[in-house]
C-alpha cells in the first residue's frame, strides 16, 4: 500500500486544508498515524501495514526497534506483534528497522511526571499521558533506556499485529469472497471456513492495495498463545553457535581497521604525540590526530592496537580534580549546603522534631565502570553524499545527527544500521565512539572503517556511574522506626550526559534522589529526602539503574540500621512502614520464599533484606551469607518483584538473576578511582565484578499486581547491594556503609 497510502494521505491533506483551513489541518496532524518509514523503498507487491509489519511474497518481517544489548527486547517486541498477528516466532524475520520518529519512545514520560510511579489513579494517569504526549511532540525520539521498552511498546506493538491481521483478513475476503467474520487466522495464514488456507505472504499483493485497518480490540491475556509463556528467545540459537553478528563482527569489502587513543584525562586536549615507531610497524596505513587524541589505521585490529601502544603522548590535565580524595571532598563540602540543593524531594512530618533515639550514618557509592564485554565499536563508510554506519546504539536518531554534523552529509542521507550489542549497561548511550568513527571515516572518505576500542581504552574513556555520598539520621522509639532523614549528594549524571550533547539541564537532576524519594514509606510519619548536586566532577553516565543504585543503597542501609537499633525485625518493620500494597506483597513473597519467619540460621550466618523501587517496579531481595575463615561467602539469594505483566517468564527470571549478580558483584569489588586525572583501573583484573564461583543460587518469583506493565532490565540491581550489606551486618555485626565492600571485609 506504500504508494497508494502516500497518495491517499496527500489528497486528504489537501482536502482538509481546502475545506477547513488550518484548524482541520491541525486536527488531522494530531490524530494522524505516524509516518511509516517502511514505505520508502517498499518493493511493489509488498505490504506495510504500519511501521512494525512488512509482508511480501516470500517473508514476514517484524520491525523491533528497541536496541537489544542482552535484555532480550528484540524477542519480546516480536512476541508482542506475533501474538496478535497470529504468526509464530520461527516464521518471521526480525529487523531493528531504520531510525524514525515513527518509533519515538512513548514510555519514558511516566517517570518524568514528578509523581512516584507507585501512585496510580485516573488523574495521575492523565498527567502521565500528557507528559508522554508532550515528550513525543517536542522530542519524538527513539531511545532504549530507563527500562522503558515494555511500557513503550506493550499496546503499540500488539495493536500493530492486530491491525495487520485484520487488514490481511480483508485481503483474504477480497480474494476468496468469504465474509471477514467467517475468517480465522493462525500461523501466518488466513483460514477459510472450509479449512483451506491463504498464507499472509500470498495475500501481500492484495493487502498492499487496501487502506490498513486502524482500530482493533486487543486480546485478553487469557487468550494469549505466546505472551505470558516462556517462548524462547529468537537470538538464542545464533548466540549459542557464534553465528550472531554483533557490531564488532561486521565486515564489508575494502574495510580498514582502526583504533584510537585519546586523552585519559577525560575531555582534555592532546598537547603532542610521537608515532614514529607506530608508522613503521607492519600493516599500519596511517596515524593521524583526532579530537583529543590519535587514530591508528591498519589492516588488522591487533596491529592497530599494538601500534597505538607504542605512541607517546603529552596530555593536558582535566578540569575535574586530579585525585580521588578530592572528588569525595567536593561532595562532603556540598552536602547539606543550600547553594547545592538539588531538590527537597520528599517531606513528610518533621524529621527535626520527631522524638526518638538517633542513629547516624554516612555512606559512599563510588564511580563504577560499565565495561560491557563487547568493547565500543562502529563501522562506517562516508562518501560525498551518503554515510552508512553499522553499530549498536540506544539513541538511534542522535547517531545520525551526530554523524551528519561531523561528516558534513545531510542527516537524511546518514543511515544507521543498528546491530546487536554485546552488553551496554548504559555505555551505548554515549557518542564518543560514534564521533570518532565519523571523524576517521570522513578523513578516509570512500573507505569503510571499523573502529574497535581496546579494552584498556574502553576502561580509560568510560564515563562511569556517578559518585554519591549519603548522610542519614534515623530515629526509633518503642521498638519502631519513627523518622528517616536522608541527604544525598552526588555528581549530576544528567547534567554530565546532557552537557556532552550540548544541552543544559534546566531542572533538578532527579537521578540524585531516585529510589530514595520514592521508597514508599507510606506509614512513616516523618520522612525527608533531600538531594544535593555537584556539577564539575569527572564526567559520568547512566549506569544500569542510574541514581537508584547508590540511592537505594543509602536509604535502605540507613533504614536497616535504624530497624536493628530499634530491635525490630528487618522484614516485618519494612512491611509495617511500607503501606504500598504491591510492595508489601513483594516483601511478603520474598519472606515466604526464604521462610524468613521462624527460620534459624547457623552460627556466623546472617540474612539481610532490602527493598528497591525503581522504574515502577518494587523488588525485594534477601541475601544469606556466612562468615567463613576464608571470608564472606554468599550462600543463597531470593528475589521477588512485581512487573505488572510478565511477557516471558523465563527471560524475566534470567534478568532477575543477571541484575542481582550485577548489583552484588559491583558492590563487592568494583570502583573507578582517579589518580593524576586518570582512571586507575585498566582492565577486568582490577574491576572484576562477580565470577561463577562467587555466584550463589538465586531464586526468583514474579508478581503481576502492579497496574501497568514495566521493564525489568534495571530494577533487580538497586536492592542487591544493600541486601548484601545488611546480610553481612546480620552475620558479623559489621556495618558496611561504603561500596565496594571488599575494602572492609574479605570475600571467599
Amino acid at each position: 500500500m506504500g504508494r497508494l497510502r502516500t497518495i491517499t494521505r496527500r489528497s486528504f491533506l489537501v482536502g482538509s486544508v481546502a475545506i477547513g483551513g488550518a484548524v482541520a489541518f491541525g486536527t488531522y496532524r494530531a490524530f494522524a498515524p505516524s509516518e511509516n518509514p517502511n514505505e520508502e523503498n517498499l518493493a511493489s507487491g509488498s505490504a506495510t501495514f504500519n511501521p512494525w509489519v512488512v509482508i511480501d511474497s516470500d517473508k514476514i518481517t517484524l520491525i523491533a526497534t528497541h536496541a537489544d544489548k542482552g535484555q532480550g527486547v528484540q524477542s519480546a517486541q516480536a512476541a508482542l506483534i506475533a501474538e496478535e498477528l497470529d504468526v509464530e516466532l520461527d516464521q518471521v524475520e526480525i529487523s531493528f528497522g531504520v531510525p524514525s520518529a515513527a518509533y519515538a519512545n512513548g514510555g519514558m514520560g511516566d517517570a518524568m511526571a514528578g509523581i512516584p510511579l507507585y501512585e496510580y489513579n485516573a488523574s495521575v494517569e492523565r498527567t502521565r499521558g500528557f507528559v508522554n504526549g508532550a515528550l513525543r511532540a517536542v522530542l519524538p525520539m527513539m531511545a532504549t533506556g530507563g527500562s522503558s521498552a515494555m511500557p513503550d511498546v506493550f499496546d503499540k506493538l500488539r495493536n500493530a499485529g492486530a491491525t495487520a491481521r485484520e487488514t490481511l483478513k480483508l485481503a483474504a475476503s477480497q480474494v476468496s469472497g468469504v465474509p471477514v467474520d467467517q475468517l480465522k487466522t493462525a500461523k501466518g495464514a488466513v483460514i477459510l471456513p472450509d479449512g483451506s488456507e491463504l498464507s499472509y505472504t500470498s495475500l501481500a499483493g492484495t493487502a498492499a492495495e487496501i487502506e490498513p485497518v486502524r482500530f482493533v480490540q486487543l486480546r485478553q491475556p487469557s487468550e494469549w498463545r505466546i505472551l505470558g509463556k516462556s517462548h524462547g528467545r529468537t537470538d538464542m540459537l545464533p548466540k549459542c553457535t557464534g553465528t550472531l553478528e554483533y557490531g564488532i563482527d561486521f565486515e564489508i569489502e575494502n574495510m580498514v581497521h582502526a583504533t584510537v587513543k585519546t586523552n585519559p584525562n577525560k575531555g582534555a586536549a592532546m598537547k603532542s604525540f610521537d608515532a614514529a615507531e607506530a608508522r613503521q610497524m607492519r600493516g599500519i596505513q596511517d596515524v593521524f590526530e583526532i579530537t583529543n587524541g590519535v587514530a591508528v589505521i591498519a589492516n588488522n585490529t591487533w596491529r592497530a592496537i599494538k601500534a597505538a601502544n607504542t605512541i607517546s603522548f603529552e596530555w593536558e590535565k582535566p578540569s575535574y580534580p586530579l585525585e580521588q580524595a578530592e572528588h569525595w571532598k567536593v561532595l562532603e563540602e556540598a552536602i547539606g549546603k543550600e547553594e547545592h540543593l538539588n531538590a527537597e524531594a520528599r517531606e513528610v512530618g518533621d524529621v527535626e522534631t520527631a522524638e526518638g533515639t538517633e542513629v547516624k550514618g554516612d555512606y559512599r557509592s563510588p564511580y563504577v565502570a560499565h565495561a560491557p564485554l563487547e568493547p565500543l565499536t562502529a563501522t562506517i563508510l562516508v562518501t560525498d553524499d551518503r554515510v552508512d554506519i553499522w553499530t549498536g546504539h540506544q539513541v538511534q536518531q542522535m547517531v545520525e545527527t551526530v554523524v551528519a554534523e561531523i561528516s558534513g552529509v545531510d542527516a537524511e542521507n546518514v543511515h544507521l544500521h543498528n546491530m546487536f550489542i554485546g552488553g551496554s549497561f548504559g555505555h551505548r548511550l554515549e557518542f564518543d565512539y560514534i564521533r570518532q568513527a565519523a571523524e576517521i571515516a570522513t578523513k578516509l572518505k570512500g573507505t569503510p572503517v571499523k573502529l574497535t576500542y581496546s579494552r584498556e581504552e574502553d576502561f580509560a574513556q568510560d564515563f562511569p556511574r556517578h559518585i554519591t555520598i549519603g548522610r542519614g539520621i534515623g530515629k526509633h522509639k518503642d521498638g519502631k522506626v519513627v523518622s528517616m532523614n536522608v541527604d544525598i549528594c552526588g555528581a549530576s549524571v544528567m547534567a554530565s550526559q546532557m552537557g556532552r550533547m550540548g544541552m543544559n539541564l534546566p531542572m533538578p537532576d532527579t537521578q540524585l534522589h531516585e529510589g530514595a524519594w520514592d521508597y514508599p514509606m507510606l506509614n512513616l510519619n516523618n520522612n525527608r529526602v533531600r538531594s544535593f548536586r555537584v556539577n564539575n566532577l569527572a564526567p559520568t553516565s547512566s549506569w544500569r539503574s542510574v541514581g537508584a543504585a547508590p540511592n537505594v543503597f543509602i536509604y535502605d542501609t540507613m533504614l536497616d540500621e535504624t530497624i536493628h537499633a530499634a530491635g525490630a525485625d528487618p522484614m516485618l518493620e519494612r512491611i509495617r512502614l511500607m503501606g504500598h500494597g504491591q510492595s508489601v506483597k513483594v516483601l511478603e513473597t520474598a519472606a515466604e520464599m526464604c521462610s524468613w519467619n521462624g527460620h534459624k540460621v547457623g552460627p556466623n550466618t546472617g540474612r539481610g533484606v532490602a527493598y528497591g523501587f525503581s522504574f515502577g517496579v518494587p523488588v525485594a531481595t534477601v541475601v544469606q551469607v556466612t562468615n567463613t575463615p576464608a571470608g564472606i561467602k554468599l550462600d543463597e539469594v531470593w528475589v521477588a518483584a512485581d512487573v505488572g505483566v510478565v511477557i516471558d517468564p523465563n527471560n524475566l527470571d534470567n534478568l532477575a538473576t543477571g541484575g542481582t549478580v550485577f548489583g552484588l558483584g559491583h558492590a563487592i569489588n568494583c570502583e573507578i578511582t582517579y589518580a593524576d586525572g586518570v582512571a586507575q583501573q585498566e582492565n577486568y583484573y582490577d574491576h572484576e565484578a562477580m565470577r561463577i564461583w562467587q555466584c550463589p543460587p538465586i531464586h526468583f518469583k514474579a508478581l503481576e499486581n502492579m497496574e501497568k506493565v514495566r521493564g525489568f532490565g534495571e530494577p533487580p540491581v538497586p536492592p542487591a547491594a544493600p541486601a548484601l550489606g545488611n546480610a553481612i551486618f546480620a552475620a558479623t555485626g559489621q556495618r558496611l556503609r561504603e561500596m565496594p565492600f571488599n575494602k572492609f571485609v574479605d570475600f571467599v
Partner: protein, 153 residues
Amino acid sequence: MQLTINGTSHEVDVEDDMPLLWVLRDELGLTGTKYGCGVAQCGACTVHMDGVAVRSCQVAAASADGADITTIEGLGTPASLHAVQEAWVENQVAQCGYCQSGQIMQAAALLDMNDAPSDEEIDIVMGGNLCRCGTYPRIRAAVHSAAAKIREA
C-alpha cells in the same frame, strides 16, 4: 604459516606473535570467537587447541602452527548442535551472549575430560570465563544438562 581450523587448513601470512584470536577474526573472518579483554581475563576468546581449551588472545600464531584448532563455528552448527550448545539453548542461557562462545568452548572441554562434574568442579573450570550479564546459575545448570546428554549418548 599453516593453521588447521575446524578441519580446514589455512595458509596465513602473519607475524609470529599475532594472537590466534586476531588471525581468526581479522584474517580468516571467523568472528564467532570474541575479543573481550586481550589479557586472558574474560575467556570470551576461548577455543580448543589439540582438544584443550585455550585463550586465543594468548596463543601466538606461530605456536598454533600445525595444531588442530576448533572454534565455536566448528563445535556445532545451528543445524547440527553440539550437546553443550543444545543444553545452552534449552536452558536459555544467553543474555547479551557475547561471552557465550567462550563459555561453551570452555564447557565442552570440561565435559571432554569429565562427563559428570560437580558444581564445584564447574565453578573451578569456568571461573576464568567472565559473564557481565550474570548468567552463571544458568551456565551451571546447562553444563549439568549437557553432561547428562553426553553420558546418555
